[in-house]
Symmetry: C2
Subunit: 223 residues, 2 copies
């Protein structure tokens, strides 16, 4: 018997998503909730990365996770095993989440007892980049098998994120992926991007990401 | 000096994309042009698969390729080296191509001397599945590193395609990907899907895809 809810998300009705996103961020600030928006292609390892990150941080923060998918609940079932609060969001075909949809997710999850909320966005490098969800920080994953040229092809996603996790570095020997070349492409688009190579499956590099998150959450609650 | 054009695609103005797609297909039929729409996540190996497929078929068909991307021209530059006709389409942020946009691409490419046209769609498992491009057949690639659960998460894409290439089978030993389980998920959604495991980089399985294409093109020109 699964312990998490599945919430069918409705299309937002707000005229200005940017205004809604700012409003949501102000409310999160007031309530001392840090919201991370995690994005990537399908299959880059978002859920595995979340599991490893939750393991590193769950004794320090009260974590709540929103798993957004067009269909299925496999990700929420995976996250539930970590013991943190989780809700599955179904977007009914929609390719991204905006601020109104994220608000529905947060209300469904319930954040009274959460200080670190995570939205695992739809697997898509295009549309989610165009919609501010109201998150405090945006994180993205690029996995080694996808290739180091992705910043050239999906520049907006690499421009709007605060941190890039280069995942699956354990398979670097089997793919033509040059980390230095990738970093160069990324930093040309986004000089402030924090770049962390990781292997979510083995846990390599995850502590560096956890440390980055600690700093961001502390800063968010401080000012 | 690059020999291919870059065409900035405009948003379509047609009321009914389905009607436009049918109209385009009828014109292609009349002109004996077979149009394949190739879709996948970012980094699944669309361009590498195309290169290998072109090498297998370029002595039998006059091939023309449309490389759709939000930005960059690295894919068109790669395809140009195969010696076939190619055009780079820029969608200016749009996450998919519809029939009107595909028509712009075909006009830009010029198909008077083409009998096998290929559209490499935007890397995205969500939005391109929702728009009929006017293609005769839809092909998709799922690569091993993405995971065998993707049919559960992106059911529409797996439902509307005629052929699925499971790419990067050379790295099967390094990933938890079960081909039989994947096939089962796919065939449950789409019992008519032709499934071909390949490794585009080494060429393994590419001849089976080429043979499938030969049969489809012959059938298209026959009836």
């Amino acid at each position: 018997m699964e312990g998490f809810r599945i919430l069918e998300i409705k299309q937002s009705v707000f005229e200005s998503n940017d205004r809604e996103a700012d409003k949501l961020r102000q409310e999160l600030k007031k309530n001392k909730v840090f919201l991370l928006n995690l994005m990537s292609s399908p299959g880059s390892g978002k859920t595995t990365t979340l599991r490893a990150t939750i393991a590193a941080l769950k004794d320090e923060f009260r974590i709540g996770v929103m798993e957004a998918d067009i269909d299925s609940d496999v990700d929420a079932a995976t996250i539930e095993k970590t013991g943190v609060k989780v809700i599955q969001l179904h977007t009914g075909g929609m390719c991204h989440l905006d601020a109104g949809m994220t608000r529905q997710g947060l209300e469904g999850l319930g954040v009274d007892d959460v200080d670190f909320a995570i939205l695992e966005n739809i697997g898509n490098l295009v549309c989610p980049a165009e919609f501010d969800t109201g998150s405090v920080k945006n994180a993205m994953i690029l996995s080694v098998p996808e290739g180091d040229d992705k910043p050239l092809k999906y520049p907006l996603m690499f421009s709007i994120c605060d941190v890039l996790l280069i995942n699956k570095i354990d398979v670097l020997p089997y793919f033509d992926f040059d980390i230095e070349r990738c970093k160069e492409y990324v930093l040309r688009l986004n000089p402030n991007m924090k770049i962390i190579p990781i292997c979510a499956r083995t846990g390599e590099g995850v502590e560096a990401f956890a440390q980055w998150l600690r700093e961001q959450i502390t800063a968010w609650n401080a000012d």
